[in-house]
């Protein structure tokens, strides 16, 4: 009914769901790093970009699919490990703003390295193209990949939640997140646990890289840059204190952006980012701690 009132077609709705699923998947990784390191990682998009380039090179060298996906994960994991050792660990005691600026610098660094090595024209990644096939259900085109991305996002989130709340490693992670020094005093190998969390977020970035190259095979140095900015806004919007809230925030902003894209008349659609970010600012003003946070959940200073 709402669909009919707003003059939004089922197609738009399906596309919005698909975008929401993809953004939710990105949000899981960003939310995890924040949950454990108290750090908003601007460079997450560039990790995805690096993974996508790995796939592109794999397909250029005519590697089998599994090999290029393996290469993608290897590159992304190596990169996250390097970032953890060289950037995150030395900055452990700094304020969130300093870390935000630092990851901003890392993001620019990685992007410009990619620009230097691979040029601005980009490369084509041909992987998992079969996932791009379209199913027609009741006159609505649904691409396989959009269903897959929603399912993968939900699965990743569930696994992550189980890991954090039901296992000892998860307990250690949450302990290291809430009080690094006390956790160490109590025998938690905090640095090791945090490295583990960064690696998991790297795996998630690899998954996103594989999925995104299905939808946009052309990999350029600014691959996933715009998406990351939007997802970051979504994650902050949802609330950073719990992975579920962050993921829901990511999904909401993807869904909203898909709906807006379909609902806006063509001559207005170029202003889509303006509407989106205006909405983000309004929501942040009303609920600065996030949309999906529990009542009374205030960030500790």
């Amino acid at each position: 009914m709402i669909v009919a009132i707003l003059n939004i077609s089922w197609q738009t709705l399906a596309d919005a769901f698909s975008l929401g699923g993809m953004y939710a998947l990105m949000a899981v990784g960003i939310g995890l790093v924040f949950g454990v390191l108290r750090l908003v990682n601007f460079a997450y998009g560039q990790m995805i970009m690096a993974g996508a380039f790995a796939i592109a090179f794999g397909s250029q060298w005519n590697w089998p699919l599994w090999a290029s996906i393996l290469l993608c994960f290897a590159v992304v994991l190596a990169l996250s490990l390097a970032m953890e050792w060289l950037v995150f660990r030395p900055l452990r005691t700094q304020s969130p703003e300093v870390m935000l600026i630092a990851t901003f610098a890392v993001a620019f660094l990685l992007e410009s390295i990619a620009l230097l090595w691979f040029g601005s024209l980009g490369k084509i990644a041909t992987s998992l193209a079969s996932l791009n096939r379209v199913w027609v259900i009741a006159g609505v085109d649904i691409r396989k990949i959009s269903l897959v991305s929603i399912v993968v996002a939900a699965a990743c989130l569930t696994l992550l939640q189980l890991l954090l709340t039901r296992t000892e490693v998860g307990l250690h992670m949450r302990a290291a997140a809430s009080d690094f020094r006390t956790a160490r005093l109590l025998g938690v190998r905090a640095n090791r646990v945090i490295t583990g969390a960064v690696l998991i977020s790297g795996v998630l970035a690899g998954v996103v890289a594989v999925m995104m190259t299905v939808q946009t095979p052309l990999v350029t140095p600014d691959f996933a840059l715009d998406n990351t900015i939007v997802v970051l806004a979504g994650v902050v919007l949802g609330g950073l204190n719990r992975p579920i809230a962050a993921t829901l925030g990511g999904f909401s902003i993807g869904f909203a952006s898909g709906l807006l894209g379909g609902a806006l008349p063509t001559e207005k659609s170029q202003y889509l980012p303006s509407f989106l970010f205006a909405a983000v600012i309004v929501v942040l003003l009303v609920k600065p701690n996030g949309l999906f946070t529990r009542r009374g959940a205030v960030e500790r200073v």
Partner: protein, 350 residues
């Protein structure tokens, strides 16, 4: 003695800017561009410093004030006869009005201040990450609107035909002006109150300081200076929306952080040092002869790699920046030794 220290704090950055300008005035005209550019960067970074340095809150949105200032000064100073060619869809009075150089800069500052006030009324309530993301949102919105709304500017086109009045002299005057404004503000009652909230928000608000109001004052002032700097910038070279977006945000933040974000001296030193490095690398990307026999030829794009790495390295090794985030102070000639009696020298009168 305190007055002397204060004079030194203002005189040092001003002197540095004047020296850079004098140096720039004698070199060849192709290298002069680098100096002018560096001086414009000083203005932008000082504008950024007025808010970020004094409040301790990160803003990713200041380049939107620069962009609005550039648009204001640019639209109003393109000669009316050339407006239809580059901005055919301009609205109403903008199509016929053309103002001179100085009024266009004043208007740019005014628009920057008004916009910063409107945005700040809402945004200054936020802090931490929410503030960071919200200011980023402002940058995205302004970039998006300026890019497509052709009634107020050239849209996707480049701002050509703006009179190129920003020479080395005007750029230097603008930078000195920005420094003086920043200095006057940070010495004032308001500046000190804001710095108190930076050091200890709880204690400051317990002493009756409204964090929201003090941040808003600084935001508006830095919006005005940023708009002014944008006006100076558009009078220097033809800009478009892409040159006033993420890259400029990154490089100006890098300058502030590398120099030391909590002092005016740091902002000026950072802007000039990074500009110098940037110019050197730009030359090296085109092939630079060093000492007459060694040709340094770096691939295009090395600049951002080096600057990004430098910014990250400074944040990790010395988060307070190369100046340590302190104002300039004169080296002391005498060792102040409070335990031993003062040396009995006849010249000591102070």
């Amino acid at each position: 003695m305190r007055r002397a220290a204060a004079t030194a704090q203002l005189a040092a950055p001003v002197l540095l800017v004047v020296l850079a300008a004098l140096f720039g005035a004698v070199v060849s005209s192709s290298s002069q561009t680098y100096f002018i550019n560096a001086l414009v960067m000083v203005s932008i970074v000082v504008a950024l410093y007025i808010f970020v340095g004094n409040s301790g809150v990160v803003s990713f949105g200041h380049i939107s004030f620069v962009a609005l200032g550039a648009w204001t000064a640019g639209v109003l100073s393109v000669p009316a006869s050339e407006k239809p060619a580059i901005m055919p869809n301009l609205a109403g009075f903008l199509r016929h009005t053309t103002v001179g150089n100085v009024p266009s800069l004043a208007l740019a500052a005014g628009v920057g201040a008004i916009f910063a006030f409107a945005v700040g009324l809402a945004l200054m309530r936020l802090s931490g990450l929410a503030a960071g993301i919200a200011t980023f949102g402002v940058l995205e919105i302004v970039h998006n609107v300026l890019r497509y709304y052709e009634k107020i500017g050239p849209g996707l086109n480049t701002f050509s035909s703006v009179p190129e009045t920003t020479g080395i002299r005007q750029a230097a005057i603008a930078a000195v002006l920005a420094i003086c404004v920043a200095f006057a503000y940070q010495r004032s009652r308001y500046g000190r109150m804001l710095r108190a909230t930076r050091e200890d928000p709880a204690a400051a608000s317990a002493s009756g300081i409204s964090i929201y109001r003090q941040r808003l004052v600084a935001f508006v002032l830095s919006g005005a200076v940023a708009g002014f700097a944008g006006g100076i910038y558009v009078h220097l070279l033809p800009l478009n929306t892409e040159s006033l977006y993420l890259d400029l945000t990154f490089i100006t933040l890098a300058m502030l952080v590398i120099g030391g974000s909590s002092s005016l001296w740091g902002a000026v030193v950072g802007a000039l040092a990074v500009s110098a490095l940037d110019s050197f690398l730009a030359e090296a990307e085109n092939g630079l002869k060093l000492l007459g026999w060694f040709t340094l030829d770096l691939p295009a794009g090395t600049r951002v790699v080096v600057e990004g790495a430098l910014m990250a390295a400074i944040l990790i090794i010395k988060p307070s920046g190369i100046t340590g985030g302190r104002e300039f102070s004169l080296p002391r000639w005498r060792r102040p030794d409070r335990n031993s009696p003062a040396p009995a020298s006849p010249s000591e009168t102070a």
